[in-house]
């Protein structure tokens, strides 16, 4: 009846395949079909087929374009700053021997915290009247700010909170790269009389190239998907100054109930992320590394 190999396939892989078909493939196809219709949570079923109208609408929709722009600004700033600070801290950690483990253990804690909790912690600390941050600033003579309520400051504040949350991740990745660097090139550099900065520029950076590209791309992908933090910190406000794309799509679907249109927008987001992911897979060679 069944060959041994076929049987193994059935027993080992098919159960997962069924679960993935139901939880991943079916929703993706469903969403794709919905994106070509005027489906709405207000009515039953799929709605009518309207071709590419939703996609054309998205490119003309200034709110959607603004949210895309906000996402780009947010992503570029957080990833750049997290990379620079992350590299600095990783280099410092890599220099020391005593106390390394304690520093490491403390430094990685924020990245483990539930994103919603991170948002709440900082909402409390940054509260204009009751928060400790404005109080401490007052002690050194700096006037307190409405960090999340001021349209000019809100994006910067969200960026800073995200850095607090995600910097540990960057440190962790870059430190892992630094630790696994070979020793010989450094010996050669020392013999050649290279200074610290020269060694960093001409030995460390080139050797770290792959780790850096992977870490940055990985963070770009996760930053574009940011949702929880925005929900808790600002709900996209004030106005739409911090409304990133995921939040905008959520609003379209659950406040305005336009599921067809929001599916189309989510597919546009998906295409962008898949392009970046392809790059990521190329660089990391799509192969898991046994640890």
């Amino acid at each position: 009846m069944f060959s041994v190999k076929r049987k193994q396939f059935l027993i080992f892989f098919v159960p997962s395949l069924i679960v993935l078909a139901v939880t991943v493939i079916y929703p993706l196809v469903y969403s794709l079909i919905m994106s070509f219709t005027n489906a709405s949570l207000k009515k039953q079923g799929f709605g009518e087929f309207i071709g590419l109208d939703n996609y054309i609408k998205a490119f003309k929709d200034t709110y959607f374009i603004d949210s895309g722009w906000n996402t780009i600004v947010f992503t570029v700033i957080v990833v750049t700053l997290e990379f620079l600070f992350g590299l600095a801290v990783a280099l410092l950690l890599n220099r020391i021997k005593r106390g390394k483990k304690i520093f490491f253990t403390i430094i990685i804690v924020p990245m483990l915290i539930t994103p919603v909790a991170v948002g709440l912690i900082w909402r409390l600390l940054l509260h204009p009247d009751l928060g400790i941050v404005n109080y401490l600033l007052g002690l050194i003579g700096v006037e307190g700010q409405a960090w999340l309520g001021d349209a000019k400051l809100a994006m910067m504040t969200v960026v800073l909170v995200d850095i607090w949350h995600q910097l540990p991740f960057m440190i962790l990745l870059l430190l892992a790269g630094l630790v696994s660097l070979p020793g010989e090139p450094y010996e050669a550099a020392t013999i050649d009389g290279a200074g610290r900065f020269q060694t960093f520029l001409h030995v460390t950076l080139p050797l770290m190239k792959e780790t850096i590209v992977v870490a940055v791309l990985f963070r770009v992908i996760t930053a574009i998907k940011t949702y929880d933090l925005i929900y808790v910190l600002t709900k996209g406000g004030p106005g739409t100054t911090t409304e990133v794309i995921s939040y905008h799509i959520y609003k379209q679907a659950y406040t305005f109930l336009n599921t067809g249109y929001s599916s189309a927008m989510s597919y546009l987001l998906l295409i962008v992320i898949m392009l970046i992911s392809t790059l990521f897979v190329r660089v990391s060679r799509g192969k898991p590394q046994p640890r």
């Binding site: 469903y30 020391i96 106390g99 919603v116 929900y231 992320i273 898949m274 799509g286 046994p290």
Partner: protein
């Protein structure tokens, strides 16, 4: 200044800088922990009272005034069950792929690709599906939904672990007459146990922290902790001290569990893409 002095100075600066960084990460958390033990009045005080007599009232309050105990239970059940299913199915699938499917194959790339999917793309169709099945606000809805990310994540991580175990070992067992399943359960699984444990913890944490699906798919019945604390604030104005207590409760298991898997964190959180 001679070379030795300059090295000593550099070391001093390094430690000073690292201490600064550690404080930036630690103090906000400590402040929340401190506030969770203060009375309501003290929590609102600005300038703050630095030394407070600790009270457990806030913890008592969130569990009695709020159905917080139920939310905690929901989070626990959903995270544990989805992780358990993902571990079992994922381990089998990963073993099959590790032994039968070559690297660079489409199947492997597709599994990695699922990890890149933005949740917002999945949440709309999954919501429609669950609604049609009349399963909104149930454990089942969340457990099945969480498998959409935890199962591929588990498969991906475990492929790496299984490939680290020499093929010869299970092949030797098969030559001695055991089936593929016996080779898997008797030879490979025991060897991969620490890795599976770590992958399980990582997947548990992912489910424990998940917000968007839980927000959309649950009402008051199956609500999980992240949604509960996000709602607590909007519903009751700012009840600072209680909110801090709730925050401490949600992050405690995470920090505790992560202590056990420190050495797996890098690989676990980057899909093994950084050596």
């Amino acid at each position: 200044m001679n070379a030795k002095q300059s090295v000593r100075l550099l070391n001093g600066l390094t430690y000073a800088a690292l201490t600064g960084v550690a404080l930036i990460f630690l103090l906000p958390i400590l402040w929340i922990v401190r506030t969770s033990f203060t009375t309501k009045a003290v929590a609102y005080q600005i300038p703050p009272k630095w030394f407070v007599e600790p009270t457990l009232d806030n913890y008592r309050a969130i569990f009695s005034d709020n159905p917080f105990g139920r939310y905690f239970m929901n989070s626990m059940v959903v995270s544990l069950v989805s992780t358990f299913i993902a571990v079992i199915l994922g381990a089998m699938a990963a073993y099959w792929i590790a032994r039968r499917v070559k690297g660079g194959n489409f199947l492997r790339i597709a599994i990695l690709g699922t990890q890149m999917l933005p949740p917002i793309v999945m949440v709309i169709p999954i919501f429609m599906m669950i609604k049609k099945l009349d399963l909104l606000d149930s454990w089942v809805a969340l457990i099945v939904t969480y498998l959409s990310f935890s199962l591929p994540y588990m498969i991906w991580l475990l492929i790496g672990f299984f490939e680290g175990i020499p093929k010869d070992l299970d092949e030797a067992c098969e030559i001695d007459g055991c089936t593929k399943m016996q080779a898997f359960t008797r030879v490979v699984l025991p060897l991969a146990a620490p890795g599976i444990m770590a992958a399980g913890i990582l997947s548990f944490l992912m489910a424990w922290n998940e917000f968007l699906f839980a927000l959309v798919l649950t009402g008051t019945g199956a609500r999980t902790l992240p949604v509960a604390i996000a709602n607590m604030e909007t519903q009751q104005g700012v009840m600072i001290a209680q909110l801090c207590a709730a925050t401490v409760i949600i992050i405690l298991p995470v920090v505790f569990l992560s202590l056990f898997i420190q050495k797996y964190l890098v690989n676990g959180m980057t899909m093994g893409s950084v050596k």
